[in-house]
């Protein structure tokens, strides 16, 4: 298979991650970055030019030229782009969350299964060497039985459409819960059974929440919390971060996924900035997706994982509304 490349297209530059994905697609040896389509033609044309990719005015044109696509649209558009790709027999890697509703997420999984295409979800935390090492340590019994996890994925407010309930499906909970929820499920090989949440819109004057603390009960009996807040000020030295504090019977472990960073005191910007020097998680994550498709294997992070994580976010909204813990089964139906 040496020399065989996967033809990958990029759909939409609506998401803040799109530019990084474009750079990754261009850099990966096993990828032929086939081109770009965007529902905003001016934005897409400019981005295609910037990243040295071919602009496709029509979605069909891009899909016809692609083996797989990466979707970086608004959350609400994930479903229609996924269904269009599946109809053309094109594999999909979509940014998270899988969709804005459980019904949409389920429909995407079913459509891709019927079409015989892979549906992958972008959870780059699983590509962190530190997180992988922790998973191996847990599986090897080094922490004993896991009893509790305190996870945080706080960030700056991303702007754009991320505060638009229709396009994003919510605010900070929709944006940031799913990373931590997926990491907890994957690390512990466990399932979320019940969710409690306290939410607030305190910082940015948005219609959606910018602060949230979730408490989860897991099938194993362990519990966890997730801080999903857009709590990082604009003067914070980086976009945010991902931390995990894992308490086992035998050991307690702290993971700070983006700890490998230099501090740059920047007089031009008038503030300090972190300059990461760890592995680029997007490169590892997209590389693993592409390698699976080329080898005709199942993708490592599938639609099911995306849906399970989305259910936690949806349950959080319901819990905050009802002011009591909510069983995950109640949002699954």
């Amino acid at each position: 298979m040496a020399g065989v490349k996967l033809r990958v297209g990029l759909i939409s530059f609506a998401h803040v991650h799109a530019a990084g994905v474009a750079r990754t697609l261009r850099a990966l040896d096993q990828v032929d970055f086939i081109g770009v389509h965007d529902e905003d033609a001016a934005r897409g044309r400019a981005a295609a030019k910037e990243h040295g990719a071919r602009w496709h005015e029509s979605l069909d044109g891009l899909l016809a030229a692609s083996d797989a696509v990466v979707i970086e649209s608004t959350n609400a558009d994930h479903r229609r782009y996924t269904e269009a790709a599946a109809a053309r027999g094109v594999h999909v890697l979509t940014d998270k969350p899988i969709a804005t509703t459980v019904a949409d997420g389920k429909a995407m999984i079913d459509t891709c299964a019927r079409a015989g295409v892979e549906l992958g979800i972008a959870f780059p935390v699983r590509s962190s060497p530190a997180v992988i090492a922790l998973r191996e340590a847990i599986a090897g019994g080094m922490l004993g039985t896991i009893r509790a996890v305190r996870a945080a994925n706080p960030g700056q407010y991303p702007g754009r459409w991320f505060g638009d309930k229709k396009a994003a499906g919510g605010g900070a909970v929709m944006d940031h819960t799913v990373h931590a929820a997926d990491a907890i499920r994957w690390l512990l090989a466990d399932e979320v059974m019940r969710v409690h949440a306290e939410l607030g819109s305190f910082v940015y004057g948005l219609d959606v929440e910018d602060c949230g603390i979730l408490t989860l009960d897991l099938a194993s009996g362990a519990f966890a919390s997730i801080d999903c807040s857009w709590s990082r000020p604009q003067t914070f030295p980086t976009w945010g971060g991902v931390t995990l504090h894992v308490v086992g019977d035998k050991a307690t472990v702290d993971i700070d996924v983006f700890r490998q960073a230099l501090t740059h005191y920047d007089d031009t910007a008038g503030r300090a900035k972190l300059v990461g020097w760890g592995d680029d998680l997007n490169t590892r994550m997209i590389g693993d997706f592409v390698d699976a498709i080329l080898a005709r294997r199942r993708v490592p992070i599938d639609g099911e994982a995306g849906l399970r994580a989305l259910e936690v976010a949806i349950a959080a909204y319901r819990s905050a509304e009802m002011r009591r813990p909510v069983d995950i089964a109640a949002v699954r139906a």
């Binding site: 945080a152 949230g212 408490t215 919390s225 801080d227 308490v247 002011r323």
Partner: protein
């Protein structure tokens, strides 16, 4: 002012030592479960050993009794001291149960003696700066705050911590500091939700609590006896105009390394302030009591913070959201 100290564990020894050199203050008597336990500290601070703790509560050479025993014994000694007309400085939590705490408050009010409760975090400068920046609007309106506090499983050092009936576990012993801090910073919460594990003999005890204030903020607190590397504290306090961050692990002006690997971790971080917060606390309490003023953290405050700790335990045990009325 003549001070008698009951209990010579971490807190009792700390208070007896911290009182040294304070103006117009003298530690006159030390009592512990046995005279042998009291002896080293008594010798160090040149106080007499009182072989019977209850006798110390009514001793003629004592004006104020420091109660630093295991938590479930606080009420016995605090009430005896109040009945003998002595002022009382009681370690946190004020008592193991709400009923005990209410009895202490009543006894001190009836006897017209001062009652101070050892919520020492209110004397830590990093927490005082946060309080000031909340109050003067530097951070804007508080949005979300996360507070963490951890120690190694302390039951491995002192067995009474292992018994929830005596200590109340990590929630009443350790998390209570941050529950009190949340009340001090933001007032009374509207509701509480918590989860906890308690593993008994291994001493592992870990809890998380979410406090929702009527308007804002949301406060998330971790209390951990699963920090095997030793004591640490931290907070992140986000308002709509900025954020303030404290991490004791990144705040130590010096780090010590020794050959042979890490032994058992120190109970607390090495003091790195000219006057420790424990000594500041004593100086303030003694000065207020001498002037006839209310202590900064009086019995009613101590009672409310204890009640919040009990609400955390109730939520963790029942799985329910607890509506909070102070």
């Amino acid at each position: 002012m003549r001070i008698g100290v009951i209990g010579t564990g971490f807190a009792g020894a700390m208070h007896a030592r911290s009182a040294q050199g304070l103006d117009d203050v003298r530690v006159t008597a030390i009592a512990a479960a046995t005279p042998e336990e009291a002896a080293p500290i008594a010798e160090e601070v040149r106080a007499r050993i009182e072989s019977e703790p209850l006798a110390l509560c009514s001793a003629k050479d004592v004006d104020l009794v420091v109660v630093a025993t295991p938590t479930h014994l606080h009420a016995d000694y605090a009430i005896a001291a109040a009945k003998a007309g002595k002022h009382v400085f009681c370690e946190k939590p004020l008592a193991r149960t709400r009923e005990q705490a209410e009895a202490i408050v009543r006894a001190c009010e009836d006897a017209r003696v001062a009652l101070a409760v050892g919520h020492v975090v209110r004397y830590f400068p990093e927490y005082q700066i946060a309080k000031r920046m909340i109050g003067d609007g530097t951070l804007g309106k508080p949005a979300i705050a996360t507070l963490v506090r951890g120690n190694f499983p302390v039951g491995s050092a002192r067995a009474w911590y292992l018994d929830p009936e005596k200590s109340g576990g990590v929630v009443l012993d350790l998390m209570l500091h941050d529950l009190d801090t949340a009340r001090w910073w933001f007032g009374e919460p509207a509701r509480v939700y918590a989860r906890r594990l308690h593993t008994g003999a291994s001493g592992l005890d870990y809890a998380i609590a979410t406090l929702r204030f009527a308007d804002r903020p949301i406060v998330h607190i971790e209390g951990s006896w699963a920090e095997h590397a030793g004591f640490r504290t931290g907070f992140e306090l986000r308002g709509d105009r900025g954020m303030l961050v404290h991490d004791s692990r990144a705040a130590s002006p010096f780090l010590v390394q020794a050959p042979g690997g890490a032994g058992s971790p120190a109970m607390m971080a090495t003091p790195t302030l000219a006057e420790s917060p424990y000594r500041r606390q004593l100086r303030d309490i003694f000065a207020r009591v001498a002037r006839g003023d209310r202590p900064l953290v009086d019995g009613r405050e101590g009672l409310r913070s204890l009640a919040l700790g009990l609400a955390v335990i109730e939520s963790a045990d029942s799985g329910k959201v607890i509506e909070w009325r102070a």
